[in-house]
């Protein structure tokens, strides 16, 4: 609980963060930037869970526990994505989405 700040303000922040992430994922052409955008989305949900837990249902810690799991899984996901990106970089010397277009309809 932060005195003087209501839940509406924080949830607005997380919604804005979420849409920034989606926008970034769609418009960015650099694979690393796309990964960063996904991380922004996941972090917005983490804040969402913690805030909802703290403001609305403070008697149980379900949301807080959930957020810890999200952070851990997101780390694993990022590690794998970076590993694949590095492998791709070894082959095409680029991390740009435009270079990964050999598969297309």
């Amino acid at each position: 609980m932060i005195p003087g700040i209501s839940i509406t303000e924080i949830l607005s922040l997380t919604s804005i963060l979420f849409f920034i992430g989606v926008y970034g994922f769609i418009t960015r052409t650099n694979l690393i930037s796309m990964l960063v955008s996904v991380e922004i989305i996941l972090n917005s949900t983490v804040i969402n869970f913690v805030v909802i837990n703290k403001y609305l249902y403070p008697e149980l810690l379900q949301g807080v526990v959930y957020s810890i799991f999200i952070i851990a899984v997101a780390a694993a996901e990022t590690a794998l994505a970076v590993a694949i990106i590095i492998n791709l970089y070894k082959q095409i010397s680029s991390v740009d989405v435009k270079e990964t277009e050999t598969l297309k309809y």
């Binding site: 979420f18 992430g21 989606v22 994922f25 694979l31 796309m34 990964l35 996904v38 989305i41 996941l42 917005s44 949900t45 969402n48 869970f49 909802i52 609305l56 249902y57 149980l60 379900q62 949301g63 526990v65 959930y66 799991f69 999200i70 899984v73 997101a74 694993a76 996901e77 794998l80 994505a81 694949i84 990106i85 492998n87 791709l88 082959q91 095409i92 990964t100 050999t102 598969l103 297309k104 309809y105």
Partner: protein, 476 residues
């Protein structure tokens, strides 16, 4: 809680044990004998599949986070059989291509951990277990899609899969957080009591559904499917198209029929539109494909649209027909992918034109392919017809006559492109057809089981009655 209650997690513990045994075996098997790890993995998984059929009582563990009942147990067995066939079909590929690179065991370990994630996902009792299972089932598959490190296409498939999957899980988590906000709990049982169709819940549900639609490759979210299937190794593509999709459909169906049932007015209309779009886009794009893997990718998108026909009903008949259809779909699609894999392994050819005159040189393979394609299209004597028939029945009983009619129109379209492949194999001549070759034992077994499945599952009717009885568990 007693120690014996852990036996409810028998499937999970056995699979984890197999994966750990393989990790240890990887250390101790000398470098020249790595191919014995393949036999070990298939042997152990075969035992696990057989043991899975022993009955299991209904109960839940860990305060309701993990639950199991007879339908979940049955579906785990179906997944087991699917993965076992997949292992048999990909054994040759691993022995010829991957063991040389000293990475054979890795493949099995990643595959088994992914299957473990699916077990946890379909027997989840709350959204936390569901999310962890979902990620555990997705992340190893992305690693598998990028498995052929030297191939650029494989890496591309891997990065496309992991980024789409991460975006999908982010979106569906945002939806889950909204469901948590309105209902005050992440446990399915508590949500069922507290849920009501207000705006925030509906928005949460739509975001959650969008995330799951990525996994099932429903239409607005299907863009990764064809690219990943084409670039990934064939066994990984067939894993994604049958096992991964089947498990995701199953858990989505359970959630929609139990927890999210109060929102039925919302999801009925949504699924109606998504089902039509999925069937039409999948079928129309499949018409113009030349590569067999892309072709099967779009055909699997179209099949997902048919599955939605059962999902829209929300009845016991719907549950039974979806489970039955998924089971038959696993067998038919594995047969098709198995033939593609056998030919690709021997000759490296993957285009439809390369199949010209296949019947003259490899009659058995082309007959298996014929059966698989007929089953996918839904032509009467084979199992696929009965799967589709029950889906239509379920949808028609709830009054969706127009939807069923349009689905039948789609079957006609799909028949055209399935028959294109059949024509290439049986009627077309070729200057240099694929030469005759003999498959090894594992591949023969893998294809043989699928053929038996395709021929028997449709005719053996007690099976459907059995599934129908089991599905009472989720429809009160």
């Amino acid at each position: 809680m007693e120690l014996s209650s852990f036996f409810l997690m028998r499937h999970e513990m056995a699979l984890l044990a197999i994966a750990l045994i393989l990790i240890i075996a990887e250390i101790f098997i000398p470098k020249q004998k790595k191919s014995s790890a393949v036999h070990l993995a298939i042997f152990l998984f075969g035992i696990h599949t057989a043991l899975g059929f022993f009955p299991l009582e209904e109960n839940s563990l860990f305060g309701g986070m993990f639950r199991t009942n007879s339908l979940i147990h049955f579906f785990k067995n179906v997944l087991n059989i699917g993965v076992f066939i997949l292992l048999l079909q990909s054994a040759d590929w691993i022995q010829e291509k991957i063991v040389k690179l000293n990475r054979g065991t890795e493949f099995f370990i990643l595959l088994f951990f992914s299957l473990l994630g699916m077990y946890f996902m379909i027997s989840a009792g709350d959204f936390l277990m569901f999310y962890v299972g979902l990620e555990l089932s997705t992340i190893p598959v992305a690693a598998l899609a990028a498995f052929e490190l030297m191939k650029r296409r494989s890496s591309e498939a891997g990065i496309k899969l992991i980024l789409s999957a991460a975006l999908a899980s982010g979106v569906s988590l945002f939806g889950i957080s909204m469901l948590y906000a309105t209902s005050g709990s992440i446990y399915f049982d508590d949500i069922l009591v507290a849920i009501s169709p207000n705006n925030l819940t509906i928005l949460g549900f739509i975001l959650f559904f969008a995330g799951m639609a990525f996994k099932i490759s429903l239409v607005p979210f299907h863009f990764w499917t064809a690219d990943v299937y084409e670039g990934a190794p064939i066994s990984v593509a067939s894993y994604l198209s049958v096992i991964s999709k089947g498990a995701a459909v199953f858990i989505l169906m359970i959630l929609m029929f139990t927890v999210l049932k109060p929102l039925m007015e919302v999801w009925e209309n949504m699924i109606y539109v998504v089902a039509l779009a999925t069937m039409f886009v999948g079928n129309l794009f499949a018409l113009r494909q030349q590569n067999m893997k892309r072709f099967l990718a779009f055909s699997s998108i179209a099949q997902a649209g048919f599955i939605l026909l059962g999902l829209i009903t929300g009845t016991q008949l719907g549950t039974a027909s979806v489970v039955y259809f998924v089971m038959i779909y696993i067998f038919s699609n594995l047969a098709a992918f198995g033939v593609v894999q056998a030919i690709s392994l021997k000759t490296g050819k993957e285009n439809i034109d390369d199949y010209n005159g296949l019947y003259r040189t490899n009659p058995r393979l082309s007959l298996i392919m014929l059966l698989a394609l007929f089953s996918l299209a839904g032509i009467p004597p084979v199992a696929g017809f009965f799967g589709k028939f029950f889906l239509y029945t379920a949808a028609a009983r709830e009054g969706y006559y127009l939807l069923v009619f349009l689905a039948v129109v789609n079957v006609t379209i799909s028949l055209y492109y399935y028959l294109l492949v059949v024509r290439a194999m049986f009627l077309r001549q070729s200057e240099n057809p694929i030469p005759f070759f003999n498959n090894k034992l594992y591949m023969r077994l893998g294809l043989g089981i699928t053929v038996i499945g395709i021929l028997v599952l449709g005719i053996y009717s007690p099976l459907y009655d059995y599934i129908y009885e089991l599905s009472a568990a989720f429809n009160h």
